[in-house]
């Protein structure tokens, strides 16, 4: 049995080519860890052992066949987990909800197929807040997921299981979704790199929809360079999602100028987090990156706007779950799902639509314009990912509004459709990870990756692992 797996895809694949280990052995390694440690973390809902081995054997054959190139299989041997919102043909997909408790879909999402064609090996489906409604993992109908850095704490959400699967070494990378922060925030809480791509870059086809104008398909990796590699496979036009842009982004200039939004450093920001972010800024400054204070004046409206538009779209997207063609009936919805459906229905209903939904869409324009103005001057924005480090299980569970306010630093980017990258930036005194967030112009992920890679050459935070 392998003892450990290299830190980067590049090194992993070198090892495979050198025959240090095989794909099947990689699957052995991860399955063994899952069976040993996941019962106390609850990050997986379904482990796809059979198909993992079948795929691994297939990839080992390709490896041993001789005449293949990594450009044909860029993710060969990369073991991946999928948040249980991704439809996987023939393999149970629950969306973290009792409504789809036994649902086995007849088709797979575009991104699942893309990763498998690229040689990746699916190990299983990860736990999440039901329907992606949450920022802690506590809204899963299958029990909360725990943070491997400290099991009394939440790993963040809604892609809770996905984050834990990578940080606990249950998979090499993990796919999640980010609608208002659901990849970036758990990445921050679990010491991972989490990408929310530009809206319109990665196909949403075959992923359970939460809020259609906000949902993005993101992923968790240990390093920024690997995040870049995954995006190279997941991004691009398919013939099923007609909101895809197929844009490539601007040419990357040499000099980098980063904006610090003053509205993100006010009241409500945990002092330790603030310190960590300021320290990160200093590290980058020393490398010659210029920083400038900028303003995103409508920041305070991001959460109210988000909590009108998102529930409205949620209430619509969950209308199809009536138990007729699949799944259980609507009585199986959990309380957070019901709350959001009610809220969404309310803001769309006759008499309230103009005051809430239409109004929110207008303020959304203002929030998006804020970013456009700032990006005339700077190439990226640096700010905290979340106002606090990971919080305790149960701490916010009884106050839905309090939980919603945790989205303060991530919601704006979702409303504007811009990319966001959360990168490990340090730890609190009690060893809870804290991430920093980079926001960029639409389709300018490359710039964010460049800055991130630079930061990871200067720091070792991302190399630290939790003791499980």
């Amino acid at each position: 049995m392998i003892e450990s797996v290299p830190d980067t895809i590049e090194k992993l694949q070198e090892g495979l080519l050198k025959k240090n280990y095989s794909c099947v052995e990689l699957v052995d390694y991860y399955l063994n860890r899952i069976k040993k440690y996941d019962s106390s973390l609850n990050s997986f809902l379904t482990i796809s052992e059979d198909s993992a081995y079948s795929q691994a054997k297939k990839m080992d054959k390709v490896l041993n066949g001789g005449s293949f190139s990594l450009s044909e299989y860029p993710l060969l041997g990369v073991v991946v987990s999928f948040k249980d919102l991704f439809l996987t043909k023939g393999i149970r997909t629950t969306a973290g909800s009792k409504v789809l408790q036994s649902y086995v879909p007849p088709y797979s999402s575009t991104v699942v197929m893309k990763l498998l064609s690229a040689g990746a090996i699916m190990i299983g489906k990860t736990n999440c807040d039901a329907w992606a409604h949450g920022a802690s993992g506590e809204n899963s109908d299958y029990g909360p997921t725990k943070n491997p850095w400290n099991k009394k704490y939440v790993p963040g959400g809604s892609s809770s299981g996905a984050a834990v699967s990578v940080s606990s070494d249950f998979s090499f990378v993990a796919l999640g979704t980010d609608t208002g922060g659901s990849v970036r925030q758990p990445a921050s809480f679990t010491n991972l790199v989490g990408l929310k791509p530009t809206y319109g870059l990665v196909s949403r086809y075959g992923v359970v929809a939460m809020a259609s104008s906000l949902d993005t398909i993101g992923h968790f990796t240990k390093t920024v360079e690997d995040s870049r590699r995954i995006l190279a496979v997941t991004g691009g036009i398919d013939n099923y999602d007609s909101t895809l842009c197929g844009e490539k982004g601007e040419k990357i200039g040499e000099k980098i100028k980063i904006g610090i939004p003053k509205e993100y450093f006010g009241e409500g920001l945990d002092l330790e987090v603030r310190e960590i972010i300021l320290k990160a800024i200093e590290i980058l400054k020393k490398k010659g990156i210029a920083f400038k204070e900028v303003s995103l004046p409508h920041t305070e409206y991001a959460v109210p706007v988000y909590y009108v538009i998102q529930p409205a779209e949620v209430s619509s997207n969950l209308s199809r779950y009536d138990g007729v063609r699949y799944g259980n009936d609507r009585d199986s919805f959990g309380s957070e799902a019901r709350r959001r459906i009610m809220l969404g229905t309310y803001v769309l209903s006759e008499g309230y639509r103009d005051a809430y939904y239409l109004k929110a869409m207008k303020v959304r324009k203002k929030i998006s314009d804020d970013f456009d103005h700032v990006f005339v001057d700077v190439d990226a924005i640096l700010c905290p990912t979340a106002p606090t480090p990971a919080f305790k299980l149960g701490e916010k569970a009884n106050d839905p509004l309090k939980m919603y306010l945790a989205d303060i630093y991530t919601a704006s980017a979702s409303l504007a459709g811009i990319p966001g990258l959360s990168i490990p930036a340090g730890f609190t005194k009690d060893k809870r990870p804290v991430g920093m967030q980079l926001l960029g112009k639409r389709f300018n992920e490359n710039k964010l990756f460049d800055i991130g890679e630079m930061f990871q050459k200067l720091t070792n935070y991302h190399l630290e692992k939790p003791v499980i």
Binding site: L85, F86, L87, T93, A95, L100, Y103, P105, P106, Y107, S109, R204, Y205, G206, V207, V208, A209, S212, S213, N239, Y240, D241, S242, T243, A312, E313, S316, L318, S319, R320, Y321, D322, V324, R325, Y326, T345, L348, S349, E350, R353, Y357
Partner: protein, 452 residues
């Protein structure tokens, strides 16, 4: 009773477009008679994660229809989600159009007779997806509905008129014209029996003294919706029944209940289906998964150029160019195949120097376009007659009249069953015509006369 009231009728017509694939997925749109749920995919079944992708042909067909009915085409249009729950609606919402339909503000010149014509205003024509189908059954004592999603997602055109109709006849004329136009445009079979054309009418009665208000856009304070009526004939009957029913209620100074009514074909009455308590709250919002439609001037021009001659245009042309009566014209125009046959026959007739009247007569009076499946065959036949210098139909008829008059006993014998007498009578006619009677024409005309 009805004399004191004026009917006020508005129509909603749904037409299933004959595209190859459905509106938002690539399943075949041909669902008629298919085995249940064999023509479905994640998108039209509303499976988790599925997303719509709009069919260009559906949009072009809608623009075509809009232009044919004098509509303005919106340069920006979009799809919206219309939410309601019903088992045949898999997503719990229908992708339809709300504020920015593809077509708006159109009109139709309704010609009830040569002297009576009026403009019917068309409020909008928009595009949406069809629902699945429900079949009601009792299974093991339990009343159930069986659902088939084959039809779910098929593109539907919805045309809404202003309440400009005043009579059942006007409605009937209009609907037949819509059916014809849509067939001419080749965007739908518009078949009532197959359900590819569906009708809904909103009916109210306006008091005599309030008729002037109608022009100001002030309508009666109620309307009754007639639905689930699957033929023009039944709709006409239903309307006529409604006029009487509503007139009777109003004359008693009572209010007509605002509701949906169906038509009982057997009893020839309308009956209540559902009382509308309050308007449905569809919670419309723009469909986030489908980008805006930008219908440029170029696109509209391109579609305009591709428009075939419309029934109304063809009627005008036939009457003008060929001096045809409106009856004959109507017969030729009302069947697309026949109209096309006629056009081709006319071209050939001109080449062979045959009078158009002869073509018309051969088709309308003798149905020779059925005998000769290709116009070339008909023209060849007419050419033969011309060359053989057969006498005209009028002459034939005149001779037949004389022969009948002169051979009363033979006529009686034939009419009492002695079929073989026909040969004798035909011979007599040919003698009168000096053998210049065209055989099938003589035979047809004499049989006609002998029937009466």
């Amino acid at each position: 009773m009805l004399k004191k009231y004026r009917p006020v009728i508005g129509l909603e017509v749904h037409v299933e477009l004959g595209t190859r694939t459905k509106m938002f997925c690539s399943c075949s749109a041909n669902h008629f008679l298919a085995e249940p749920n064999t023509n479905v995919c994640p998108i039209c079944m509303g499976l988790p994660g599925a997303m719509p992708y709009a069919n260009k042909k559906g949009i072009m067909a809608t623009i075509k229809a809009g232009l044919a009915f004098g509509c303005e085409i919106n340069s920006f249009s979009k799809f919206d989600r219309k939410h309601y729950y019903y088992p045949d609606l898999p997503k719990g919402y229908q992708i339809s159009q709300y504020e920015l339909p593809i077509c708006k503000n159109g009109y139709f010149d309704l010609k009830e007779s040569d002297s009576k014509s009026k403009k019917i205003r068309i409020r909008r024509i928009h595009l949406e997806e069809d629902t699945g189908k429900l079949v009601h059954r009792t299974l093991e004592g339990r009343k159930v509905s069986l659902i088939d999603y084959n039809r779910s997602g098929v593109p539907l055109l919805e045309m809404v008129t202003e309440p400009d109709f005043e009579s059942a006849n006007e409605v009937d004329l209009f609907l037949r014209e819509v059916q014809l136009a849509v067939r001419y445009l080749d965007i739908s079979g518009a078949n009532m029996e197959q359900g590819s054309m569906r009708l809904e009418a909103n009916v109210s009665l306006c008091k005599e003294e309030d008729v002037f208000d109608l022009k100001k856009g002030i309508y009666p304070d109620y309307k009754v919706e007639l639905k689930n009526i699957n033929s023009f004939r039944f709709l006409k009957k239903a309307l006529e029944f409604e006029f009487e029913r509503q007139a009777e209620i109003l004359s008693r100074n009572e209010k007509v209940v605002q509701e949906t009514r169906g038509f009982d074909e057997v009893k020839a009455v309308t009956f209540s289906q559902r009382v509308k308590e309050e308007a449905q709250d569809y919670r419309y919002f723009p469909e986030p998964d489908i980008p805006l439609l930008t219908i440029t001037v170029d696109i509209v021009e391109q579609v305009q150029k591709s428009l075939p001659e419309l029934p109304s245009q063809r009627r005008e042309r036939l009457m003008k160019d060929y001096f045809l009566s409106s009856n004959y014209t109507e017969l030729l125009v009302s069947d697309l195949k026949r109209a096309e046959y006629f056009e081709r026959a006319v071209i050939l007739a001109k080449e062979k120097d045959i009078e158009i009247n002869k073509v018309v007569g051969a088709m309308i009076n003798q149905n020779l376009d059925i005998k000769f499946s290709e116009p070339a065959g008909l023209i060849k036949y007419l050419l033969e007659i011309k060359n053989k210098a057969f006498v005209s139909a009028d002459e034939v008829v005149a001779s037949i009249d004389v022969v009948i008059h002169e051979n009363q006993q033979a006529v009686l014998d034939y009419q009492s069953g002695k079929e073989q007498i026909l040969g004798f009578l035909i011979g007599q006619v040919q003698r009168k015509l000096k053998g210049k009677g065209e055989a099938s024409l003589v035979s047809e005309k004499i049989k006609e006369k002998l029937k009466s």
